[in-house]
């Protein structure tokens, strides 16, 4: 029982850390390079505990991100729910795939996410008009292998075993 609560705290803590990184002020030239921290953390947790962290958590996480970023409420939520759905369907494949393949797969997911936000922004009427909008996909995917190893090790250190 105590382990069960403990593991939830680790998950929440890492989500909070990701939120903080998502709104941390950066020098002006680098704002477009900011990786999609929260999305990467979400992808990892869905992959590790698809029965605990899934579309429902993705919805909540997306709403918090909308509130933090000042976007229309539900915008990030939609994109997060769709990405979480695909991860929850394909987590078996993603877990056993070698890291390069897994990274490529995550690249597609992150690209889909950024594309969804792009489309939704377009519908709302403030389309990002610079190509730099797509840079976070690149920085995220460069960081993914490190993120994956880091989160996996912290999960193992907390004594959590991946579940189905």
């Amino acid at each position: 029982m105590s382990e069960h609560i403990h593991n939830k705290w680790l998950i929440i803590l890492i989500f909070l850390l990701a939120f903080a990184l998502d709104i941390l002020p950066l020098p002006g030239w680098s704002i477009w390079f900011r990786p999609l921290w929260t999305l990467m953390v979400l992808i990892y947790w869905v992959m590790a505990f698809p029965s605990l962290i899934n579309v429902g958590s993705a919805f909540l996480v997306g709403l918090v991100l909308d509130l933090l970023q000042g976007t229309l409420l539900g915008e990030h939520a939609i994109a997060m729910v769709i990405v979480a759905y695909f991860v929850a369907q394909l987590y078996r494949f993603m877990r056993v795939a070698p890291l390069p393949q897994q990274t490529f797969f995550v690249f597609i997911l992150i690209f889909v996410y950024q594309l969804l936000i792009y489309i939704l922004q377009g519908i709302v009427g403030s389309l990002p008009s610079t190509w730099a909008y797509w840079l976070p996909v690149l920085t995220s995917i460069i960081l993914w292998p490190w993120m994956f190893v880091l989160l996996r090790d912290s999960r193992r250190r907390a004594g959590l075993i991946v579940r189905g």
Binding site: P25, F59, L68
Partner: protein, 263 residues
């Protein structure tokens, strides 16, 4: 399917947030949840600044003090000139029986050191409805207009900068009084553009723009920006004019909230 349920819920949220004013209360309540996160991110940065202030040397302080004294003298001299102009202006306006629109109360606010999506051109202030900040309130910095409050929460408020693609501000040219609307370009270059200005209008590079006060949102006569390019595309009857904002949109940390007096 649960995913579809949540998708529909998210779409309903989006519609409500965009169309329904009453839903903004809900959003305001939800912001209590994220305020701690913003606060925790801002705190160490704020503290670092405080520590830097604490450790600034006496010599630095003396130097600052001297330069500030000089600045105060200069400003006071200018102010005296200003007083005469204001009273003269008032008399003239009374002669014309026009209503005198003086700018009202102001409050200094600080930017929270958290950033929004880069394509949104928004900043967050540390003052909210508890300091009587309201939606639509104009925000200035020491060198010009910054934008307006678009969402006032209890402890914080969100400001849309002039460069946001949704922002538009009524302006007039200082040199000849021609009125126009300056809309945000939304690009990464942080510029404004003048929209629907005909090719024959007398606008030159270097013209200064001030608020015209039309539209009742921004007070009259504050600097908005300077014209940096004017081009006349052959296929359009409107000129393409870009404007560099005079407010230091991405550098100011202290800003002014203005309560315009009701006329």
């Amino acid at each position: 399917m649960r995913a579809i349920l949540f998708l529909i819920l998210a779409i309903i949220f989006m519609f409500a947030d965009r169309r329904n004013i009453a839903f903004h209360r809900v959003r305001q309540a939800m912001d209590y949840v994220v305020f701690p996160i913003q606060y925790v991110v801002d705190l160490p940065i704020d503290m670092t600044n405080t520590i830097i202030d604490d450790f600034s040397t006496q010599q630095q302080l003396l130097k600052d003090n001297a330069s500030l004294h000089a600045q105060v003298l200069l400003l006071q001299a200018q102010l005296q000139k200003q007083y005469a102009i204001v009273s003269e202006n008032k008399q003239l306006k009374e002669l014309l029986s026009a209503s005198d629109k003086t700018s009202g109360q102001v409050l200094v606010a600080q930017l929270l050191a958290v950033s929004s999506d880069p394509f949104l051109h928004q900043v967050i202030l540390d003052k909210g409805t508890k300091d009587e900040v309201f939606q639509g309130q104009p925000v200035l910095d020491s060198s010009g207009v910054m934008g307006q409050v678009i969402q006032a929460d209890v402890f914080t408020s969100r400001v849309m900068l002039l460069t946001d693609p949704k922002s538009a501000i009524p302006v007039q040219i200082k040199r000849n009084g021609i009125r126009a609307i300056a809309a945000g370009s939304g690009g990464a270059d942080n510029l404004l553009k003048l929209v629907y200005v005909t090719n024959t209008t007398d606008i030159e590079v270097g013209d200064e723009l001030v608020t015209s006060g039309l539209g009742q949102c921004y007070p009259v006569g504050y600097p908005v920006g300077t014209v940096i390019t004017v081009s006349h595309p052959a296929d359009s009857q409107f000129a393409e004019i870009t404007v560099a904002p005079s407010a230091r949109l991405n550098r100011s940390r202290l800003v002014l909230l203005v309560w315009p007096l009701k006329v």
